[in-house]
Symmetry: C2
Subunit: 253 residues, 2 copies
Amino acid sequence: MSVQSSPTDMARQVSCANCPLRALPTFRAFDDEELAFVSSFKRGELSVDKGATLLSEGSNSAHLFTVLGGWGFRYKLLEDGRRQILNYVLPGDMIGLQGSLMGKMQHSVEALSPMLLCMFERDRLMELYRGYPGLAYDITWIASREERMLDENLLSVGRRSALERAAYLLAFVASRARKVGMGGSGKVEIPITQQHVADTLGLSLVHTNKTIRKLLDRKLVQWRDGGCKVLDIDGLMALADWTGLDESTRPLL
Amino acid sequence: MSVQSSPTDMARQVSCANCPLRALPTFRAFDDEELAFVSSFKRGELSVDKGATLLSEGSNSAHLFTVLGGWGFRYKLLEDGRRQILNYVLPGDMIGLQGSLMGKMQHSVEALSPMLLCMFERDRLMELYRGYPGLAYDITWIASREERMLDENLLSVGRRSALERAAYLLAFVASRARKVGMGGSGKVEIPITQQHVADTLGLSLVHTNKTIRKLLDRKLVQWRDGGCKVLDIDGLMALADWTGLDESTRPLL
DNA sequence: CGGTTGCTTGAATATATTCAAAGTTAGTGG
DNA sequence: CCACTAACTTTGAATATATTCAAGCAACCG
């Protein structure tokens, strides 16, 4: 449950070519020209504490981010405070794209742990589209991937039982985390509270607690240190009738 | 509840420049060059009956479509047959983009009424990205718009009460329909059954029926001819605490 | 130590599902 | 024109699932 975050003494700590994320097999290789552009597109790094609001609904953010490290989540609120968590954001994910394309943000993003982000300027997005069609295609691909994850989440909230939903959620987040090297060789530990789980599944806190208990009893997960340690992803997947994300590699901007 | 669909005697019935949809104020104006490319990108028209499956989960469709007329919906199934409707598709919407970008379809699309679609070849998508960055941007914008709608749907299914959910759904679909000229000067009639509503809201058919009854009692909608006539969109919006899609204009491919 | 945050529990209540059946409507074929 | 069917809507009752309310507990922090 740790994230490397060092004080921001320089505007540019990690060069894109040496980005540790890019070395992971999940991400497709970029050629030199693409890498050079992405490097120049990068305007700085942002590091935030756990609990920080990165982007908020209704605002008109001038930036676009790629997560370098840490965990976060996207959510929406109703007037009276009811909250729905839409998806989680992990290293390699892009945030703020919706806002960059369409003006105002329609959702908020909050950090679940300390986070380190790569910052891009939305104004240069058109330049990317003009000069780098391959990267433009990648951005559409990334938007489409988010859509696919939302489809799955909606299926889950709409049609799975509480137990299946919880199993799906934890398997889903843990398997995404694995792919970006979180948890290393051991088990993934997700830094969420049961309130976050409740707000993702569309259930009350009390009922979520009782549902998670069943997963604990089956030894599929452990709950500790204010987080969830996922012991048996395959078991969770079987319980939820979920076959996993069938991604081979994906782009990293 | 009618859709103009004439027999397909020619491969190309409507030229893009004269596309009746394009004339609507919802859609942004395209310049001649863009219009010429879109026209050349178009490979034909597809007209299908109510109930037809346009795209199905797991398949590897070679095509991309824009809806010219009629109603449809996107959905996913669980192994045991439980169905979740993810979103509705209306004239001006693009379908099959996810499949085109990422290979296999992860959801299915079915026609709710007779539909007329404009067909594009996925192989030429890269050509579009290379030669027409403005259109490439538009496609990303379209993907992002779908994501935004899914965010709203997820908020609704996860956090709204049954009554609020039903009100939101009908207001949402009706207001999208209005924008593309469906219903003309009168009230919008949505060609869905209560089973569709149930599968969208994540509720059982029986409970959905009892919930819709409350909307009927409040005279917000009427149910007839196997469809829903939306009488009072503002009333539905107020009930659901939903402020509407804040779109000005959007691209039409 | 006192305060806060997060987890846990039981009981009362509310919401939603399942089961079973019947009514309605439009369409089909005799 | 009528009987028959299929698809959709409606209803009531029994049951299951989930929420709310109300406490209490454990860990952590200043």
